[in-house]
């Protein structure tokens, strides 16, 4: 990924009006439309942190046009994958542009360290599962030398197939805004971008937790209590807790048989009989 280095006023700042007349965007059916209709996009602190990286680049005009694109539904599709957010954006040309925001996934060793830390403190998983990025998650990551967010634009390579040589262009900006909204509702999306999807991440956490829980199930691991119950054997249930032994039949769908009888009604007298345990109990 090669980023242009520029000096002097940017193109858009030199010819702002002209650029805005560059072309009319083509309408898109079923595009991804930003939920935010006005003002800022990105409600959570974490999507704010992500967008701050773009804001710091100082391409204000393009960002606001990107916001307009995001709200107009110009983004046809968007995928947050390990290492990259890729999207198709409909611009003024017939052919939609391909936009991509890259982010270096953490190495497996780094992930192991992260997962170890997360498994040791279930607050993080609890918050993530509750739809929030815990505000001290970055501290944990910092301890293993990682950062959740790109540290400046240098860690956020972006490219787009549009002719605009500004980075980000409005297409990339639109994609970033929509990604931010995705991060709002699913903080796991941020982690997926860093290399682990939700299912994998939770499974790895679960494995670590279960390993610590120390409940082995294989016979080989149970030789020390081979004849003993794992938990106290429950007392036999108190007899007859339910009002009627045929109540379950009422929850069943009708089962009409060939002879026009309903299997439920055929069975009902038998169920009533089942409700009468033999005198003397069992065993």
């Amino acid at each position: 990924m090669v980023r242009e280095t520029r000096s002097g006023p940017r193109f858009s700042e030199r010819f702002p009006e002209k650029f805005s007349e560059f072309g009319q965007r083509k309408p898109v059916e079923d595009g991804i439309v930003a939920r935010s209709r006005r003002g800022e996009i990105g409600e959570s602190w974490w999507s704010g942190r992500f967008l701050a990286v773009l804001t710091a680049l100082g391409v204000g005009g393009r960002l606001s046009r990107g916001k307009t694109y995001a709200r107009a539904g110009q983004v046809v599709d968007l995928a947050i994958e390990p290492g990259a957010i890729t999207a198709t954006v409909q611009g003024s040309r017939d052919e939609p542009y391909r936009a991509r925001l890259g982010l270096r996934p953490w190495a497996d060793e780094a992930w192991d360290a992260v997962l170890d830390a997360l498994a040791a403190d279930s607050w993080y998983a609890a918050a993530l599962l509750a739809g929030e990025v815990p505000d001290d998650l970055e501290d944990v990551l910092a301890r293993v030398g990682l950062s959740l967010f790109p540290q400046g634009s240098g860690e956020l390579p972006m490219d787009c197939s549009c002719p605009d040589w500004s980075v980000p262009c409005k297409h990339l900006a639109a994609v970033a805004y929509l990604a931010a909204e995705e991060f709002d509702v699913d903080p796991f999306a941020l982690l997926r971008w860093r290399g682990r999807d939700r299912v994998t991440l939770l499974a790895e956490l679960r494995d670590r937790r279960d390993a610590g829980a120390g409940v082995p199930t294989a016979l080989e691991d149970l030789l020390d209590r081979f004849h003993r119950p794992g938990v106290p054997i429950p007392e036999p249930p108190a007899p007859a807790r339910a009002p009627a032994s045929d109540a379950l039949l009422d929850d069943l769908p009708p089962l009409a048989l060939d002879d026009r009888s309903d299997a439920r009604e055929v069975l009902r007298p038998l169920y009533r009989r089942l409700g009468e345990p033999p005198v003397g109990g069992v065993g």
Binding site: A119, A120, D121, S122, W123, A126, A127, L128, L129, A130, G131, L202, R206, R208, R209, D210, G212, A213, V215, T217, L219, L223, R225, F226, H227, P229, G230, V231, P232, I233, P234, P236, P237, P239, R241, A242, A244, S245, D246, L248, L249, D251, P253, L255, A256, L257, D258, S261, A263, L267, P269, L270, L274, G275, E276, P277, P278, G281, V282, G283
Partner: protein
């Protein structure tokens, strides 16, 4: 002793085996591969003898057991007497063991005597017990047996050979099954089946449950008449598992597969729940001796559909795999829920900073915070909150309770009775009350010291609102001084909203005489009849005097509301005499209706001759100041009071007595305003009816004697009048009664305490029949009225018509002649007269006298000569046309011994103002619908002076409006003390349909029996 074991064999079901300590401990086999014979397992034939199960079959199983190189390790339950040291860690090795295979679905029986059973037996017995319980509760479904050797071709077809019963594991049953799996000793699943691994605990429990449920269910229905009556296919669920010919109904198998979805294990969506407990013992069950209480908040997963299904977080962490069967990701669900809850309850976050959070410990402050605030927030946010019984989320109701004892003069002398003064001090203490329960000193101390407003009260923890608690404690700290009697009584009578305390005063207990006063003064020591009184007070009158004197000593106003005839006049005069025995307190002003001004003067002269009485009334009256100067009692009328208010208000009266105080029931009346201007040290009101129509009247009378005591008229209306009158709030009425009780003394003639002093009154309703003539006339009147009402708008005209019709109906009930105005003879045309004649025959035979009341003068005109002729006796007839003089003569003659025995009175002319105690019988010939009016008439006979029991009879024609309304009046009477509306207006407001119900004749006529007596006409 044999050690018995049970296991679940995937192919064979429950198998039993045993170890024998007397067999060699070591194996001689040197085989390196394959299973070796277990050296000390009991041989099959001996097993069968030990267990004695005829249906069991002997077999051999390969078991994987913890072993040393040359022998399986002894089980925990095998007792050899001595145990050699083990060389090293055991390894799993296979041994062939003789087993006893139990028939399908049969659980291990009770272990025989002389053996020792390992937990494996108990575990499989528990599985069997759950299966039996599932069957009993009907938690099972028939299903096609599709577990048929994995034959996919067979499975896909609808040709199913067998039906089986499958357990339905849902909700708590699922947890029970999972708990069984967690408990299952590994030895229960140690059979080594060639080509397969050993079974999982969950798999064993599932399979054992399924087999046992199927077996129990079949056993219970086999041979029953229900099964005999069932179609062929159903027999596959009983003793004939194979579906034979004819083939099962086509839809059956597919339908049963659909049912299996309903019966699939699930517990529904789950939420986090939080259970707060006090920790009373540590994890080793040692009681905690830490004086500071410790609380534990336990996290759990709770089924949102079945709240009884709750799994502690520790269980979720211990074995999440088992729970995964009913919840996709139990651990993730729990964690996510906890994360969500941490937003509501941020302190929770700290407790999550471990790998497997199970709960958090709370100190007193934390527990208070949780109970007072968090619990409700969590509940609102959709989480479960479980508290021990008696605990409650949210702050408890905090109030004040006051208790006091005896009054003392400021110089320390304890006073009693009427000597207690308003400024005496009362031994008095305030306490806090929680949920209405008064705290003890210890509990209050604990609360003051507590770091959080959480108090253990009667075995439960109660959280309090910190601000209110602080205010309450501050209030208590300020109340160190002893209050005066006046303060305390003021507190007792003031509405809580008006008490200047930060918390509501929930209870006030007073001991001694003050307490007695609050309780209604019924046990005050009665005063003796004062020396100047020329009469002997009855016991209840002496109690009344004592009460009056007590209030007077406290300079508190009172309302003496005794029933008419109980001697209110005498009690007031006795009070004046009592006080004047000790000196001259100054003049008393007595205000009464004009009609009784002279009566008062006369009575005063009669009962207390020494009392100097002056009358300030009538034309040419002098300046009252002169009279007050040398009189003890100044009697005036309300009218004169209004006219001479300025003059009378100049005088400092010792007391003002308001006789017939209902005259001031309207607080905006000129009389009431004038009374308020009077300057008096003490005020009394006398009335027989403190509340005639509305509660506001009580307020007016109370306010006249104790200004301001019941608050403003508006406040009274809001607090009492509206809730009681409009909403029928009994509790509010009781509260009002409690507050006014110290100042209102009302004795009814029927009071047990008064009845001792008065003869009894026996009321009966006599039902009479109608003659055929009466009945047909009655119907005509009703039909005519209902007919006419149809085209009349509600209003005066309609009321008029209803009233007119009801008058006619009552007349018909009395006698047809009253309606027909035909002057026709009395004859035997009225059932009521027939009954009356019977009653009077009895009365006269006993030599008694009777009063007969009617509201129809025409009836009296007709009846008087009839009865006179019928009984050949004089009948006095008092009606509106009789002159005053003739009336007095009549009364006098009746009261004397030789007068007439029967006194016929019109209700209007004879209902009030006269005393006819010579009569022992009162007959109401027709009903007046306001019970108070009837009672008043009855009281002519039932007055002071009556020495015998009075029989009161009310004649009512059965099936007519008289009877219907008698029932209504009886119901109304229950409320009569609070409010009864006058007259018959309430009847006229009934709808036409309701009227039809009340009025329509509901009885067959019954003509008086022939030969009853001769016709007196």
């Amino acid at each position: 002793m044999l050690a018995l074991h049970a296991l679940w064999s995937p192919g064979r079901g429950v198998c039993l085996w045993a170890e024998d300590p007397d067999l060699p401990a070591r194996s001689t086999s040197r085989a390196r591969r394959g299973a070796r014979p277990h050296p000390f397992a009991v041989p099959a034939e001996r097993l069968a003898a030990v267990w004695d199960i005829p249906t069991a079959t002997a077999g051999v199983a390969v078991l994987a057991l913890p072993s040393d190189p040359d022998a399986p390790r002894d089980s925990d339950d095998l007792d050899r007497g001595e145990t050699g040291p083990h060389a090293g860690a055991p390894v799993l090795a296979d041994w062939t063991v003789p087993v006893l295979e139990l028939p399908p679905g049969v659980g291990p029986p009770t272990p025989p005597e002389g053996t020792r059973a390992s937990p494996s037996v108990a575990a499989l017995r528990a599985v069997d017990a759950l299966a039996a319980d599932l069957v009993t509760r009907g938690r099972l479904l028939p299903a096609p047996d599709e577990d048929d050797g994995g034959d996919a071709a067979k499975r896909s077809s609808t040709r199913i050979d067998r039906l089986v019963w499958r357990p339905v594991l849902q909700g708590p049953d699922l947890v029970a099954a999972d708990t069984l799996a967690a408990a299952l000793p590994p030895v229960c699943r140690c059979e080594r089946v060639p080509g397969e691994g050993t079974a999982s605990a969950t798999g064993v429990v599932e399979a054992a449950l399924a087999a046992a449920v199927d077996a129990h269910a079949r056993a219970r229905i086999t041979g029953t008449e229900e099964l005999a009556a069932a179609p062929d296919w159903a027999h596959a669920l009983g003793d004939a598992p194979v579906l034979g010919d004819p083939a099962p109904p086509g839809a059956l198998v597919a339908g049963l597969r659909r049912w299996a979805v309903v019966g699939a294990p699930h517990a529904g969506p789950a939420r986090a729940s939080f259970r707060l407990d006090e920790v009373v013992a540590d994890e080793f069950h040692h009681a905690l001796d830490d004086p500071e209480p410790v609380f534990r908040l336990t996290f759990a997963l709770q089924s949102a559909q079945d709240l009884s299904l709750t799994v502690d977080a520790d269980t979720v962490w211990r074995d999440p795999t088992a729970l995964r069967r009913w919840l996709d990701d139990p651990a993730e669900v729990l964690l996510g829920e906890l994360g969500r809850a941490a937003r509501v309850y941020p302190e929770l976050g700290e407790a999550l900073r471990v790998p497997r959070p199970g709960g958090m410990d709370l100190d007193l402050a934390g527990a208070h915070h949780f109970l007072a605030h968090v619990a409700a927030d969590l509940d609102r946010a959709g989480f479960g909150v479980l508290l021990p019984a008696g605990w409650r989320a949210g702050p408890a109701r905090l109030g004040l309770a006051a208790a006091g004892g005896h009054a003392e003069r400021p110089d320390g002398v304890v006073e009693t009775g009427a000597k207690i003064g308003k400024d005496d001090l009362v031994d008095f203490s305030w306490r806090l009350a929680v949920d209405g329960e008064e705290l003890t000193d210890d509990e209050m101390d604990a609360l003051i010291r507590a770091k959080a407003p959480l108090v253990r009260l009667r075995g439960r923890w109660v959280s309090l609102d910190a601000d209110r608690l602080r205010d309450g404690l501050a209030f208590l700290a300020e109340r160190r001084d002893r209050p005066t009697v006046g303060d305390v009584l003021h507190l007792a009578t003031t509405h809580p909203d008006d008490v200047p305390a930060p918390l509501p005063v929930e209870s006030l207990r007073l001991e001694g005489e003050l307490g007695d006063l609050l309780a209604g003064g019924t046990t005050l020591e009665p005063l003796d009849t004062p020396s100047g009184v020329r009469a002997t007070l009855r016991p209840y009158q002496r109690r009344g005097l004592s009460w009056l004197a007590f209030l007077a000593g406290l300079r508190l106003g009172g309302v003496l509301a005794d029933d008419m005839g109980l001697g209110k006049t005498l009690q007031v005069l006795a009070l004046e005499a009592h006080e004047r025995a000790e000196g001259d307190p100054g003049p008393t002003l007595l205000v009464c209706p004009t009609s009784v001004v002279s009566t008062w003067a006369r009575e005063a002269a009669r009962f207390v001759p020494e009392l100097r009485v002056a009358v300030h009334h009538g034309a040419g009256r002098a300046d009252p100041a002169g009279k007050a100067g040398d009189a003890d009692l100044v009697v005036t009328s309300y009218g004169t009071l209004v006219r001479d208010t300025d003059d009378l208000a100049e005088i400092a009266w010792h007391r003002v007595v308001l006789d017939e105080a209902q005259m001031v029931k309207n607080n905006r009346s000129r009389a009431a305003k004038a009374v308020r201007r009077l300057d008096a040290g003490h005020r009394l009101a006398l009335t027989g009816t403190p509340v005639e129509n509305r509660l506001a009247e009580l307020w007016s009378i109370m306010d006249a004697v104790n200004p301001g005591m019941l608050g403003s008229a508006t406040a009274f209306r809001e607090r009492y009048a509206v809730p009681v009158e409009r909403h029928g709030r009994v509790d509010v009425a009781e509260d009002l009664r409690r507050r006014t009780r110290p100042f209102l003394l009302r004795r009814l003639k029927t009071d047990p305490t008064v009845v001792d002093d008065l003869p009894e009154k026996i009321e009966t309703v006599e039902r009479c029949g109608l003659t055929g003539e009466q009945a047909s006339l009655y119907r005509v009147v009703v039909d005519e009225m209902l007919d006419k009402l149809d085209d009349v708008e509600p209003g005066i005209e309609r009321r008029g018509r209803v009233l007119a019709a009801m008058t006619k109906l009552k007349q018909v009930c009395d006698h047809p002649a009253l309606l027909l105005h035909d002057g026709s003879p009395v004859g035997r045309r009225s059932g009521k007269i027939a009954r009356l004649e019977e009653i009077l025959a009895e009365v006269l035979a006993a030599g008694d006298k009777a009063l007969l009341f009617t509201q129809f003068a025409a009836f009296g005109d007709l009846l008087a000569p009839h009865l006179a002729a019928r009984f050949d006796t004089e009948v006095a007839w008092l009606h509106g046309g009789v002159s005053r003089k003739a009336r007095d003569t009549m009364v006098e003659r009746f009261q004397s011994g030789d007068g007439p025995s029967l006194f016929l009175l019109s209700l209007r002319a004879g209902g009030t103002g006269i005393t006819l105690t010579a009569a022992q019988h009162v007959v109401h010939l027709d009903r007046w619908w306001n019970p108070a009016v009837e009672d008043q008439a009855t009281d002519r006979a039932f007055r002071i002076g009556q020495r015998r029991t009075v029989g009161v009879r009310k004649l009512v024609c059965a099936g007519t409006l008289e009877e219907r309304i008698d029932e209504l009046v009886a119901n109304k009477r229950a409320l009569a003390d609070l409010a009864v509306r006058d007259g018959e207006d309430w009847l006229t407001d009934l709808s036409t349909d309701e009227l039809a119900k009340v009025l329509t004749l509901d009885a067959e006529p019954e003509d008086p029996e022939e030969g009853d007596d001769d016709d007196g006409a």
